[in-house]
């Protein structure tokens, strides 16, 4: 598995990406110098708390950042095309075709006044040269794949006639229908019940393996990542603080923030034991310090943490940004 990922060329290469929001209160550095790579067929979890800039990172890759936000530096290269240089027409062909997104709220994806057959067929016709009839058959196939029974009749329904879990499946079906190379999923199961979440996870896992689709799964839930992903990227206050294979990061976290997150997961500790919590709250992205943003909440912080730590990599693809990494003697 490891050698497999190492040898293949990445389909997405994000280098030193910076997305800033110029607001009245000041400059918000939502994404500040983020670099990572995604290889074909790989499932990567992007973990961070609210306000860590993880959704903005997803939007930046797709070129969907709204005013006053702006990508001010770095590059996003998708299958060799630099998305920053791509024209609007080229972007339109890539988005929804080779690269698609699933949002947290399926009602953001679905148009409430159009039947779902219209919406799915539209997606096919925009990217593939097929007849309307073929597109319709593809729609039926993909709905079956995501576990919607009697797909033919259900195609004629409107979004409000489906339950929340069903709607998310339809949003996933639309993301999958053009067999993209990469899907970016922004907290797609957060709003769903436990049993429905498991159903959606099972579908997505199956379909990604079947089609060789790579997946970036944005979430705040480390436990879900553990069950789903090959690799994990941990973001804090706009920067990647640690990334690596799931087993490396979860079993041997190097960054104190990753360790803190893992410790706060209730199921990880004994019953009735006090949870080990991270003190304080996540900093506002407005006027962040130059140094390590986690410094205020970190037990190991020293004077040197006022300067930004550089990225260190230890064993296979395990990288972290900390002056005093856990379990590494200086």
């Amino acid at each position: 598995m490891k050698s497999n990922f190492e040898s293949s060329t990445p389909i997405l290469k994000v280098t030193n990406l910076k997305t800033y929001f110029d607001t009245r209160e000041g400059l918000v550095k939502a994404v500040d110098g983020v670099s990572f790579e995604i290889r074909p067929g790989e499932i990567v979890g992007l973990v961070g708390e609210s306000g860590s800039g993880k959704s903005v990172l997803g939007f930046s890759v797709l070129g969907l950042v709204d005013h006053p936000g702006k990508v001010v530096g770095g590059s996003v290269s998708f299958k060799g095309t630099n998305l920053a240089d791509a024209t609007d027409a080229e972007l339109r062909m890539i988005r929804g075709g080779r690269l698609s997104m699933i949002f947290q709220d399926p009602m953001m994806t679905l148009n409430p006044v159009l039947r779902i057959d219209t919406q799915i067929i539209e997606t096919v016709l925009a990217h593939q040269n097929v007849s309307r009839k073929d597109a319709r058959n593809m729609a039926i196939d993909v709905l079956r794949q995501v576990g919607i029974s009697s797909a033919e009749t259900r195609l004629k329904s409107y979004p409000h006639e489906f339950s929340g879990g069903m709607r998310q499946r339809i949003a996933i079906a639309i993301a999958l229908i053009n067999k993209p190379d990469l899907i970016i999923a922004d907290e797609p199961t957060t709003a769903l019940d436990v049993t429905i979440q498991a159903q959606v996870l099972a579908e997505i896992q199956k379909l990604c393996t079947m089609n060789g689709t790579a997946l970036i799964w944005i979430t705040h839930d480390l436990a879900t990542i553990a069950g789903l992903a090959d690799r994990v990227i941990v973001q804090y206050a706009g920067r990647v603080v640690e990334q690596g294979l799931v087993d490396d990061v979860l079993d041997n976290p190097r960054h104190p923030y990753t360790k803190g997150l893992l410790d706060s997961v209730p199921g990880n500790q004994g019953r009735n034991e006090r949870l080990r919590q991270i003190p304080g709250t996540a900093p506002s992205l407005l006027n962040l310090p130059d140094g390590c943003a986690f410094m205020e909440r970190c037990g190991n912080a020293q004077e040197v943490c006022r300067t930004l730590p550089s990225v260190t990599s230890s064993n296979f693809m395990h990288e972290y940004r900390c002056h005093f990494p856990i379990g590494v003697s200086n």
Binding site: E49, S50, S163, G165, M166, D193, V194, T195, I196, Q197, A198, Q199, L201, A202, Q205, H220, D221, L222, A223, T224, A226, G227, L228, A229, D230, V246, D247, L250, G260, L261, L262, D263, S264, V265, P266, G267, N268, Q269, R271, N272, E273, R274, L275, R276, Q277, I278, T281, A282
Partner: protein
């Protein structure tokens, strides 16, 4: 241990009345019927003094309706709620004001449960002043006390909710609940909207408060890991009915009901890597027209003929462990 709260035969139906068009249509021979939602269907349980009882279920199973009936926001359709040996309400009017004050709620959404136009000091101080627990002159010191208990210092007194983070808002909501000196706290998905690191802080706060103020909790959540961590006993609900009640050890160690087992199977855990998500089929049916017999039978892998016909009773299967499943006999 003494029983603090005792609920028996509690039900709540919501009836959707016919609109005028449907009524006219019925005069002309249509037969549109009123729709009834059986949100809570004949449930009984006890909460002992000092206990933390977890109430678990998926959305629409009626757990919030139970909370609202106990706290006196909703009037039950039938059944009774006994608190400290007395009924909470009789024919729609509360029996004793002290009882209602003793039961307080902490809500899920710390953004919508605080009035955006009031300062923290007014949010927390309003109820105790109204109920004469403190006079207006000493209000600020009184509020300061409860903020400290909830882990906020006095600089927050004059802030508005929009100036607080999610965790700080939830702490304000907790201070507001504590300010009228309750014995019983209902936490309705109180950690669901918070980030992981903040969730841990709030769960720890609930534990500290339990020790300091000798509180009893009904901890409602769909997050089984959190429930496992904080609860002494757990009640599992499905579509308006209780399917299993047991101590935390029993529920997580030897779950009995197929629904409980399925739920436990689905919990994402850090130590389960690259797993296959096993799946219970289908979705929670609508409570407007629930399945006959055992509500879980259409999704249950072990369902037999009897499950479709007969409603299983909640029966003792071990000491302190009750389950409602035909397969136990």
């Amino acid at each position: 241990m003494k029983s603090l709260l005792s609920v028996s035969g509690l039900s709540k139906n919501f009836v959707k009345e016919l609109d005028s068009f449907q009524r006219v249509a019925n005069l002309f021979g249509e037969s549109t019927k009123k729709e009834t939602v059986y949100a809570v269907d004949d449930i009984s349980f006890d909460v002992m003094t000092g206990e933390v009882v977890g109430l678990v279920g998926e959305s629409g199973c009626g757990k919030s309706t139970v909370a609202r009936m106990i706290s006196g926001i909703l009037e039950p359709t039938s059944g009774e709620i006994i608190f400290k040996g007395e009924r909470i309400s009789l024919n729609g009017s509360p029996v004793k004001k002290e009882h209602l004050l003793s039961i307080q709620m902490v809500f899920q959404n710390p953004f919508s449960s605080l009035n955006p136009r009031l300062k923290v000091v007014d949010i927390v101080g309003e109820a105790p002043v109204h109920h004469g627990l403190v006079n207006r002159k000493n209000r600020d010191d009184y509020v300061k006390n409860f903020l400290t208990l909830a882990g906020l210092d006095e600089q927050f007194l004059n802030r508005y909710p929009h100036q607080l983070s999610g965790g700080q808002r939830q702490r304000t909501g907790i201070a507001r609940a504590l300010a009228v000196n309750p014995d019983f706290l209902i936490c309705d998905e109180a950690i669901a909207a918070l980030d992981v690191s903040i969730q841990a802080q709030i769960i720890n706060l609930f534990k500290d408060l339990r020790d300091k103020l000798e509180l009893t909790y009904l901890f409602i959540s769909h997050d089984l890991s959190a429930v496992e961590n904080i609860s002494d006993r757990v009640i599992i609900m499905y579509l308006g009915r209780i399917v299993e009640v047991a101590t935390t050890e029993q529920i997580f160690g030897s779950p009995n009901h197929p629904y409980t087992r399925a739920l436990l199977e689905e919990i994402p855990r850090l130590d389960r890597r690259k797993r296959k998500f096993s799946v219970i089929k289908g979705e929670v049916p609508s409570p407007i027209n629930p399945p006959s017999g055992c509500h879980f039978h259409p999704r249950c892998p072990y369902a037999i003929k009897r499950c479709k016909i007969e409603v299983p009773k909640l029966e003792n299967i071990a000491n302190g462990h009750q389950s409602a499943c035909h397969l136990n006999i």
